[in-house]
């Protein structure tokens, strides 16, 4: 299904970009819960890092710049500096309404994930402040069933956006998700429609939405709320895609080039506005919130 096409005089630009993207395609499998150890090994450069130092550096490797995944709590803390976080729909939990069992019943998966992560599901949403700005903020937890989007995530996003419409607030959502939650089958697919429709309503109300894709943002998540920002932002090196690298490699029967589907690739292909390091993220968000406000 592929051939060589002589194309595009944008090639010089592409060529420069591609030189910059000499990075591994392989998806870095990060053990998500760093245990109470004093020392952590970087998943990218394999250097041993002092936990406290990593923490102080916003969980970015001081040696190689690798951005470790953040929990929703860590994300919120980094952005709000202790401003109160008024959580919305905190009590929603997932339901095994199809009685879905693969290698394990979905009901059991839910319980185990709640136990393991002490999150109720894969997103936390609420109202808070970033800098001088009141905002409606959502942050996903990849540790909760791979950040998969089921009815709870969809509902929480819809409620967050509806609260933003009511209170006339900008919306910011940090995605980190393997896609739709298959255990909820079609109902998970419908969350793409629901969240996108809510964003349509937000837009009709003249309120801005900043989408932040963090590593990884894939599948139906990317193909709905994660790509619909007035401004689309990402952290460096994040995997952002519709079809995952393995699916594509199976389809086209060849290895993907390095850097494929990483933030910088999406920037070069026009899908992201800004790729921004974590340490400049808050400043960038405030700058954009200022723009929308004044």
């Amino acid at each position: 299904m592929k051939s060589i096409i002589i194309a595009s005089d944008l090639s010089i630009h592409d060529w420069f970009k591609k030189k910059k993207l000499q990075r591994e395609t392989e998806y870095t499998r990060e053990k998500l819960d760093i245990p109470g150890n004093l020392w952590v090994k970087c998943y990218k450069c394999a250097q041993t890092l002092y936990s406290k130092e990593l923490e102080a550096n916003l969980k970015v490797c001081p040696k190689c710049g690798y951005h470790f995944k953040l929990t929703s709590a860590e994300r919120i803390k980094q952005l709000t500096n202790g401003s109160p976080f008024q959580e919305i729909a905190a009590n929603l939990t997932s339901k095994d309404f199809l009685g879905f069992t693969d290698t394990k019943p979905y009901a059991k998966r839910i319980d185990e994930s709640i136990m393991k992560t002490s999150h109720k599901d894969a997103i936390v949403v609420g109202l808070t402040r970033i800098g001088e700005h009141d905002v409606a903020l959502g942050a996903m937890d990849f540790a909760f069933m791979g950040g998969s989007v089921g009815s709870v995530v969809g509902e929480k996003i819809a409620r967050l956006i509806e609260a933003a419409v009511e209170k006339k607030l900008p919306v910011i959502i940090f995605s980190s998700s393997g896609g739709m939650r298959m255990q909820e089958s079609i109902m998970s697919l419908m969350q793409m429609a629901k969240s996108s429709a809510a964003l349509g309503r937000l837009r009709e109300n003249g309120l801005p939405y900043i989408a932040v894709c963090t590593d990884p943002t894939t599948g139906g998540t990317t193909a709905s709320f994660a790509m619909l920002g007035d401004i689309n932002i990402s952290e460096p090196g994040a995997l952002i895609c519709f079809a995952g690298p393995r699916v594509i490699e199976q389809t086209i029967k060849q290895k993907l080039p390095p850097g494929f589907q990483r933030s910088e690739f999406l920037l070069a292909h026009g899908m992201l506005d800004i790729v921004v390091e974590r340490k400049k993220l808050k400043e960038t968000l405030i700058n954009l919130l200022n723009f929308f406000k004044n």
């Binding site: 592929k2 009590n91 290698t103 089921g150 089958s185 079609i186 429609a193 790509m227 594509i248």
Partner: protein, 326 residues
């Protein structure tokens, strides 16, 4: 294109239809004799035809989900262009996304439904390998979704209702598709469909494959043919990821609840469209007649609604979907 002799299609028998094979052979023999003029076999022919019908009725009375999948993917199942030629008049196909390409896996155009101007969009599969290659097996690239959006906006600008006919294994997962923003294209369609100010009816005619289907399927009403499917991932995909074995697709198909009946129970669709005996591929004309009737039935109540009401109606439809504990 529609077949003159629908019975011909039957020959492409699915695995679970094998019991029909022998009876069909007999029917053919009888016909040969009849045509040769040597003997009058018309009574026997009639009887055999009745037996075929009875057998088919029996076979299709209780299809299991994986059998439904087979019917939904049947090579002779009516395609979007088949339905268009049978349901509408004055079809003018419009091409191109005005950006990069014309995607043959997605067809869009203007037409008339009983004299009323409408816009039609839908994924296009083929009836042969050659056609399927040309149509990329009904798997659209971002260009396809952007073309669909362009034509939906055309409809909106001139207040014309939109009909989408959904039949795709999914959006194409390839390098170019990713480079040109498959995710962005589908996401934008979802948001923009929610905001359309015109009546919009979607019909899942065959495979409703995940985001690639949803990308044109946010109608005020979503209907499904009796033997079509709608799912977040293909049974094969689900089996290989969750069941760790692609061969367990049967199990996955059952577990996932992908049939029209399941969708109606879950509130995802508003209506099921009856198929001709033995599936839509057995009688394109009748299938198209049923689909058209259902579209008219569901479109009519939408016509008097205001822009605001149409948007609210669509919002509410999708807003309420989701099952959880609170």
């Amino acid at each position: 294109m529609a077949k003159e002799k629908p019975v011909k299609n039957n020959r492409n028998l699915l695995a679970f239809e094998q019991p029909l094979q022998a009876v069909y052979q007999k029917l053919e023999q009888l016909r040969e004799i009849q045509e040769s003029g040597k003997m009058d076999m018309s009574a026997e022919i009639k009887q055999t035809e009745k037996r075929i019908e009875a057998l088919r009725q029996q076979l299709f009375a209780n299809l299991n989900p994986i059998q439904v999948v087979q019917v939904a993917r049947h090579l002779m199942r009516p395609t979007t262009l088949d339905y268009i030629s049978l349901m509408f008049t004055d079809w003018v196909e419009l091409h191109g996304d005005r950006n990069f390409a014309d995607d043959p896996a997605m067809v869009c155009g203007t037409a008339r439904l009983d004299g009323r101007s409408v816009v039609v969009i839908g994924q296009q599969k083929g009836h042969s390998t050659k056609e399927n290659i040309a149509r990329n097996f009904g798997t659209a690239h971002p260009e396809g979704y952007r073309k669909a959006l362009r034509v939906m906006r055309l409809a909106e600008r001139y207040g014309k209702p939109i009909i989408s006919l959904v039949d795709t294994p999914g959006a194409y997962p390839g390098i170019g598709a990713e480079e040109r923003g498959q995710a962005e294209a589908i996401a934008k369609n979802l948001r923009e469909m929610a905001e359309l100010t015109v009546p919009f009816v979607s019909v899942i005619t065959g495979e409703g494959g995940s985001g690639g289907a949803l990308g044109i399927a946010m109608g005020n009403r979503v209907l499904m043919l009796e033997f079509s499917i709608y799912s977040v991932i293909s049974p094969e995909g689900c089996a290989s990821i969750l069941f760790r074995d692609a061969k367990r697709a049967n199990e996955a198909a059952v577990a996932m609840k992908i049939t029209a009946k399941d969708m109606l129970e879950l509130g995802v669709i508003e209506d099921i469209i009856k198929e001709p005996l033995g599936g839509a591929h057995n009688d394109h004309q009748l299938a198209a007649r049923n689909v058209k009737q259902a579209i008219v039935k569901h479109l009519n109540p939408l016509l008097p609604l205001s822009h605001r009401e149409l948007i609210a109606d669509r919002y509410n439809k999708f807003r309420k979907l989701g099952i959880f504990n609170e």
